[in-house]
């Protein structure tokens, strides 16, 4: 009984930790731009279902090539 409740609490604590870790990685990947590829693929699937989906390497090559000719400022 007591042990069962303890184990349940342990599992939920584990679940909480997993959720927190998931939220943290979701956020970090979002801010750094890692999730942008996924977002692009989803966009293609949704809006242009027939179009070929680039590989992650190709996506980043193109993206950096775009940044090469279209720089963004950083503040002081």
């Amino acid at each position: 009984m007591g042990a069962g409740a303890g184990a349940a609490a342990g599992v939920s604590r584990l679940g909480g930790a997993a959720r927190a870790w998931g939220a943290l990685t979701w956020y970090v990947k979002g801010v750094l731009g890692e999730s942008d590829y996924q977002r692009y693929v989803e966009h293609l699937r949704r809006a242009h279902p027939g179009d070929p989906v680039p590989t992650v390497g190709d996506y980043w090559r193109e993206r950096y090539a775009e940044q090469d000719v279209n720089p963004g400022a950083r503040c002081c």
Binding site: G30, V31, H43, R63, Y64, Q67, D68, G72, C75
Partner: protein, 753 residues
């Protein structure tokens, strides 16, 4: 849901769930009590900061006063700006939705975009300015950072973000031309370019001053380049797209580089190789800026940016935790004698206008207007989120500035001035510096040369005398605060170099990105002149890229070199120019915003950007006027110029702080350049301001004028507005979820399709 009759859910398409919520519910009693309590705590903290004159004013009061004020301002003042000026319409598709392409136009979660926007606006500026301004005591800086942030800086950021969002994410320069006409637009464009050059030069000067004669610093900051190259190659060839992973590896390598720096600096070959003087460093940084501008982005710029973002958030959190945990006692007076006498060693001039010039970032930063127009407007999901991104983002930066100020004012006053007075005053040695600072009448226990040397040894540096520029002072203060509870005295040197490293990292990221942006501005402008120059418009033309990069780096490199060799102390003479430049950019942005408000018939609310605009013009024009016309050589560039010219003409071979005829010539040349730049800046901004006033008069006479706002297009998505999702928003979000699970084929396509 509480009182659903006051919540209106708006649909654009009867077949779709609502796209907007109009929530007219008053605050719950619980919330009212909460905000009243926050207001009360902030008021008490303010009273303690402003009127308490005990032995130690606790740094925690500053944190409470700042955070309390931000919460109240965000909840009430920003809400007023939202209701009366921005009037967000969530039934309208934002550029991210309307032009969605999954790349630069993409609806992005508001919390992610907040982090993204904050990382783009925050850099070394809010860390450096408050540190220098601490010479006037803690009170003026605190007041300006918090009040200026709330009433000026955050308003500017919020409203420019709004303008750009309503204009498909157009840039500040384009919007000035569209709304103020071609003359104002041209002045704006040149202004942005010149201002960018001076900002890069002064920031680079801060890095040079932090790294000069410091083998540890040079080694560890130098390591960031191979680390970035490694990350670039890793991302390109080994594990494409693993940005978070490679950033983490980069941060670990960075920490190792700091530790290794301490070891390298303790060897004789390390000292020999990595002890560089300022002139060498200035050349190296200029060369680095050139390389960063012509190398592909994936190799150097992008990975550095990841590192910088990671370190930015991490160290700012660390500093905040440090200040709250360590609660250092404040050593500076509330208002020092330098505030009124205007003879401070870190920078010359009286409180008005020079305090407001020195603290630009953190209170009001025109550079943010460049960031707020462009990237973030193309990512925001709903207009009602702009308050969180624009206003909230700037409040966070203001908080960073408060942390930097607290760090600086908690340093022993004698040490603070030993660090920040130029070598011409301190003599550059611990002994002479002790004599100098003891003669300043700072009160407290006088310091000895051995004390100053001991402080330098404690942070692993050869000397801390005249390490001007703000970065070493902040690093010194941060090392004391963090060392007091993390690792003790043994770790102080590590924390010092950790702080130097991240400041250098931010600044070099700004230098990289700024050089690139300026290079493109230059090539665009040249290309638009037409004729044989039209070729410059082609970004893939390598020769053009090289020429423009050389010109841009040459311009800021020359100013940097001028700063490092200036016999008067480069920071002392150039930092005001940096602040004036940044604030003048803010004047352009605020003039633009005010113009749009008047054109839209919102004259009654034009004071919201208008008051900051008038204040900013008063500050910058007074400062420019004094820099141009003051007859005090320490303040006026031309006064100094003339004094040295006359001395030279009289055949003198040394004068003031210049000990050789060459040094005298350098002063004559530098003051000429600085004086000319002051005139150019002021003139450009006056042109923009006058064009704005001209448009105001026309608009008021006509009872409003059309603006270049994009026409409405209906939204077909929903997203919550604030940081926390409300119960009504949760309901609508659930409706959308149910809708998509019932209609898996009905997918959001954006309007462009």
């Amino acid at each position: 849901m509480r009182s659903p009759e006051l919540v209106q859910k708006v649909r654009n398409d009867p077949g779709l769930p609502p796209v907007a919520i109009i929530d007219r519910r008053p605050m719950t009693p619980g919330k009212k009590i909460l905000f009243a309590a926050i207001g009360l705590v902030a008021a008490i903290a303010w009273a303690l900061v402003a009127f308490f004159r005990g032995e130690d004013v606790n740094a925690a009061y500053f944190v409470l006063a700042a955070v309390g004020t931000y919460v109240i301002a965000y909840r009430f003042y920003a809400r007023l700006v939202e209701y009366k000026v921005v009037r967000p319409d969530d039934t309208r598709a934002t550029p991210a939705e309307r032009y969605e392409n999954g790349r630069d136009f993409a609806p992005t979660d508001r919390r992610v975009l907040f982090g993204h926007h904050f990382a783009a606006i925050a850099g070394a500026g809010p860390l450096v300015g408050p540190v220098l301004a601490a010479q006037m005591g803690y009170l003026p800086g605190t007041l300006w950072i918090i009040i200026g942030g709330v009433l000026a800086g955050a308003v500017q950021d919020y409203l420019v973000l709004w303008l750009s969002t309503r204009r498909r994410g157009r840039s500040l320069g384009q919007m000035i031309r569209d709304e103020l006409g071609s003359v104002g637009g041209a002045a704006g464009l040149i202004g942005v370019f010149v201002i960018m050059i001076i900002i890069i030069a002064v920031l680079a000067l801060v890095v040079v001053n932090a790294l000069a004669e410091s083998p540890w610093g040079v080694f560890s900051v130098g390591c960031t380049i191979p680390i970035a190259l490694f990350m670039g190659v890793y991302l390109r060839f080994l594990r494409p797209g693993r940005v978070a992973e490679v950033s983490l590896i980069g941060v670990v390598l960075l920490v190792l580089a700091i530790v290794a720096g301490g070891w390298v600096a303790s060897t004789s070959w390390g000292v020999e190789w990595f002890t560089l003087d300022k002139v060498t460093l200035a050349w190296l940084i200029t060369g680095y800026g050139f390389l960063a501008s012509v190398l592909p982005v994936w190799l150097l710029l992008a990975p550095r940016d990841y590192l910088s973002t990671f370190m930015k958030v991490g160290t700012i959190v660390l500093l905040a935790v440090g200040v709250i945990v360590a609660q250092p006692a404040v050593q500076a007076p509330a208002v020092s004698s330098f505030a009124t006498a205007g003879n401070g060693p870190a920078f010359a001039g009286t409180l008005f206008p020079f305090l407001f010039i020195t603290i630009a970032c953190g209170a009001l930063s025109g550079f943010h207007a460049l960031i707020s127009s462009g990237t973030s407007p193309k990512l925001v999901e709903k207009e009602s989120q702009l308050r969180l991104i624009g206003y909230g983002g700037m409040l966070t930066e203001s908080f960073v500035a408060i942390m930097a100020l607290v760090t600086a004012v908690s340093i022993d006053q004698h040490l603070y001035f030993a660090l920040n007075a130029p070598a011409a005053l301190t003599g550059g040695e611990a002994g002479t510096a002790a004599d100098y600072v003891n003669g300043l009448g700072l009160g407290g226990t006088p310091v000895t040369g051995a004390d100053i040397q001991g402080a330098a040894d404690g942070v692993g540096e050869e000397s801390i005398v005249s390490r001007t520029g703000g970065a070493p002072t902040l690093a010194f203060g941060m090392a004391q605060i963090l060392g007091s509870f993390l690792g003790g005295a043994g770790m102080t040197a590590f924390w010092y170099h950790f702080a130097i490293m991240f400041e250098a990292l931010f600044i070099l990221t700004t230098v990289d990105a700024g050089t690139r942006v300026a290079r493109f501005m230059l090539s665009d402008t040249l290309g638009n002149l037409g004729g044989p120059l039209a070729k410059f418009r082609d970004p893939s033309w390598r020769v053009g890229a090289w020429i423009c990069s050389i010109v841009v780096c040459g311009l800021w490199g020359a100013i940097l070199l001028m700063g490092v060799t200036d016999p008067l102390g480069g920071i002392n003479t150039l930092f005001p120019l940096f602040g004036i430049a940044n604030q003048l950019l803010a004047a352009m942005a605020l003039a633009l915003v005010t113009t749009v408000l008047i054109k839209k018939g919102l004259l009654r609310w034009a004071w919201i950007p208008g008051v900051p605009l008038v204040w900013d013009l008063a500050v910058t024009m007074t400062a420019s006027f004094q820099k141009i016309f003051s007859d005090v050589p320490a303040i006026g560039y031309w006064a100094n110029h003339n004094v040295f010219r006359e001395a030279r003409a009289a055949g003198e071979t040394s004068f003031g702080t210049a000990t050789t005829p060459e040094a005298m010539d350098a002063v004559i040349r530098n003051t000429f350049v600085q004086g000319t730049l002051s005139i150019v800046f002021a003139a450009l901004v006056l042109v923009v301001a006058l064009s704005a006033v001209w448009v105001w008069i026309k608009a008021i006479r006509a009872g409003g004028l059309p603006t270049t706002e994009e026409p409405d297009s209906p939204s077909a998505l929903f997203a919550p507005s604030g940081l926390v999702t409300t119960d009504a928003e949760k309901e609508v979000a659930a409706e959308w979820k149910a809708y998509y699970s019932d209609n898996p084929d009905a997918v959001r396509t954006g309007a462009h399709a």
